[in-house]
C-alpha cells in the first residue's frame, strides 16, 4: 500500500494533506489506466469535485501516432486533485485542458507528468484557474523528455484569475530534457479581473454580474478551445460557470 504523502513530497507540496488523510491510503492505489492503440484517438471529458475530497489518478499510454485528449473541470467545495501520467509513443499527441473554479477554502489541483521518451510526440496543456474566498488552484506540470524524445514539441500554459484577496494560485512547471532537438514551452500568469474591461462592458449596459460571467467564460474557454465537440465544451463550460453563478453576489 502506498504511504500517505506529506507536503515535503514535491508533487504534493500544495495539496490539502488533511483531506488526503481523510481519503485514506487506499485511494492512492486506485489508478485509472487508459491505453490508446496506435493511430487511435481517445477523448475523455470529466467534471469532478463534490462536497467530499476527491482524488483521480489517471495513467495514459498513447501508442504510435495515437491522440489522447483529456478535458477536466474541477468544481466542488472540497479538496479535489486530478493527476495524469502520460507516456507518448512516436508521433503521439496529448491534449489536456483543465479548469479549476471555486471559492471557500478548498484546494483544487492538477498534477501532470508527461513523458516524451520516443521521437516526434507532441503535447499541449492549457489550464485555467478561477478562485475567490480563500480557495487555491494549483497546476504542477512536469514534462520529461528522454534521450529518445527527439523532435518533441511540448507546451504548457497556466493562467489564474484571483477574484478576491485571500484566494491563491500556484504554478510549478518542471521541464526535464535530455534530447537536443526539442521544443518545450511553458508559461504561467496569475492576475485579477480586468476592471477596465468590466467598466467598458458596464458603459455599454452590461450589469456587473453578467460582465464578470462573460469575462470568466472567455478566460476559461481557452482551456477548452481544443475540444472540438461543441456540446461537450459547452457542458464543461456551463458546469464551471454554474459555480460562479452559485457564488453570486458573495464575490465582488
Amino acid at each position: 500500500m502506498t504511504d500517505l504523502p506529506t507536503t515535503r513530497d514535491e508533487a504534493w507540496r500544495y495539496a490539502d494533506i488533511d483531506a488526503v488523510r481523510r481519503l485514506g491510503a487506499d485511494a492512492l492505489d486506485r489508478w485509472q489506466d487508459l491505453s490508446i492503440a496506435p493511430g487511435e484517438t481517445n477523448r475523455q471529458c470529466m467534471i469532478v469535485g463534490g462536497d467530499e475530497p476527491e482524488l483521480h489518478r489517471i495513467r495514459i499510454k498513447a501508442g504510435e501516432g495515437a491522440r489522447a485528449e483529456l478535458f477536466v473541470v474541477i468544481v466542488g467545495s472540497d479538496y479535489a486533485r486530478v493527476e495524469v501520467k502520460t507516456e507518448l509513443a512516436t508521433g503521439a499527441h496529448f491534449e489536456f485542458g483543465g479548469v479549476t473554479i471555486g471559492g471557500g477554502d478548498a484546494v483544487r489541483e492538477f498534477v501532470t507528468r508527461t513523458t516524451h521518451d520516443e521521437p516526434e510526440a507532441t503535447s499541449n496543456q492549457v489550464v485555467r484557474a478561477v478562485h475567490w474566498g480563500e480557495a487555491t488552484g494549483n497546476f504542477l506540470g512536469a514534462i520529461n523528455v528522454g534521450r529518445g524524445g527527439q523532435r518533441t514539441d511540448a507546451a504548457q500554459d497556466f493562467k489564474a484569475l484571483v477574484l478576491e484577496k485571500g484566494a491563491a494560485a500556484n504554478a510549478k512547471p518542471e521541464l526535464e530534457i535530455f534530447a537536443d532537438d526539442v521544443k518545450c514551452a511553458h508559461g504561467a500568469a496569475i492576475g485579477q479581473m480586468d476592471e477596465m474591461a468590466r467598466y467598458y462592458m458596464a458603459s455599454r449596459g452590461i450589469a456587473p454580474d453578467l460582465a464578470k460571467k462573460l469575462l470568466v467564460r472567455a478566460f476559461i474557454a481557452d482551456a477548452l478551445a481544443a475540444l472540438e465537440d461543441e456540446g461537450e465544451a459547452e457542458r464543461l463550460l456551463e458546469a464551471a460557470l454554474d459555480v460562479l453563478d452559485d457564488a453570486g453576489d458573495r464575490i465582488a
Binding site: M201, A202, S203, R204, L214
Partner: protein, 248 residues
C-alpha cells in the same frame, strides 16, 4: 437633456473638475476643447460613472434624473453612451456577442423584449455598413488586434447599434486618418444628429468639427468652462491657440 451644475470631481484626492456647469438640450451638438490636463477626459468619465472618479460637489441631471445616483450600466440603459478615447480590448469575447449582450441588457433594463440572434445580426450589418466596418471584424474579439482607427470606428458601430439618446465622445477623432475621420464624422451625424438626441464631442482639433458642425463650442481650462461660443470659436482656436483666445 443634460444639466451639469457646479461640478467638482477628483481622482485619488486630486481635484480635477472645479465647478463646471453646462447645459445640453435635445437637438444640440456641443464641442468641448481645451489644453492637455484641463479635465476633458475626466468630465467624460464622470458622466460615464467610471469607478475612482469621485464627485465631491455639484449635480448632474439627465432627462430630469440624478445621473450620479445611477450605476454605469443603468446610465447606458437610460440612453447615455460614452465613446472611449482608448477603447478597451476584451480577449475571448466577440464583438457580436458583446454587443448583443449589451443591447439586450439595455432592453431588459427598459422593460423591452430582447432581440433574437437574427434580428441583432441584421441591425449589426446595417450599422457596420454605415461606418464602413467589415462584418468580419464584428466576429473578432472586442478591439483585439484592431488598429487605432478601427477601434474608433468600432466605437461608432457600437453607438449605432445601441442607439443612445446622448453621446459623450472622448477624442473620437484621435488616431483616425483623413478618410476614416470623414466616415466617422458622417457616422456621428447620421446616428446623433436627430431632434430628440444630443452629443458632447471632446476634441483637441477643429478637423472633426468640419464634418460635425457643433452648435456650441466650449473651452475647458483648469476644470471649468472658461469660454463658450459658436462653431467659429473652434476655428479661432485652431488659428490663434488657447492662450490668445482665452486672454481675449
Amino acid at each position: 437633456m443634460l444639466k451639469i451644475e457646479n461640478l467638482h470631481a477628483e481622482i485619488d484626492g486630486k481635484e480635477i473638475l472645479k465647478g463646471l456647469s453646462l447645459e445640453v438640450n435635445a437637438g444640440e451638438v456641443h464641442a468641448i476643447m481645451g489644453p492637455n490636463g484641463a479635465g476633458k477626459s475626466t468630465l467624460a468619465y464622470v458622466l460615464g460613472g467610471r469607478p475612482g472618479y469621485d464627485v465631491t460637489q455639484g449635480s448632474v441631471t439627465f432627462d430630469g434624473k440624478d445621473l450620479m445616483d445611477m450605476e454605469p450600466h443603468e446610465r447606458a440603459a437610460a440612453g447615455m453612451f460614452l465613446g472611449f478615447q482608448y477603447p478597451v480590448e476584451i480577449p475571448g469575447v466577440s464583438n457580436v456577442q458583446f454587443l448583443r449582450e449589451a443591447l439586450n441588457s439595455q432592453r431588459r433594463e427598459r422593460g423591452e423584449e430582447p432581440l433574437s440572434g437574427g434580428e441583432f445580426l441584421k441591425l449589426a450589418k446595417e450599422k457596420a455598413g454605415l461606418l464602413k466596418l467589415d462584418m468580419e471584424m464584428l466576429k473578432r474579439n472586442v478591439n483585439v488586434g484592431f488598429s487605432g482607427g478601427e477601434k474608433k470606428r468600432n466605437e461608432m458601430v457600437q453607438m449605432g447599434i445601441l442607439d443612445p439618446a446622448f453621446a459623450v465622445l472622448d477624442e473620437t477623432d484621435s488616431g483616425l486618418d483623413i478618410d476614416a475621420l470623414k466616415v466617422v464624422g458622417e457616422g456621428i451625424n447620421a446616428i446623433m444628429r436627430q431632434p430628440e438626441k444630443a452629443a458632447l464631442l471632446i476634441t483637441h482639433y477643429q478637423r472633426l468639427l468640419d464634418y460635425v458642425q457643433p452648435d456650441f463650442v466650449h473651452i475647458l481650462s483648469a476644470g471649468r468652462i472658461v469660454k463658450t461660443g459658436g462653431a467659429d470659436l473652434a476655428k479661432k482656436l485652431e488659428a490663434d491657440g488657447y492662450d490668445e483666445v482665452m486672454a481675449a
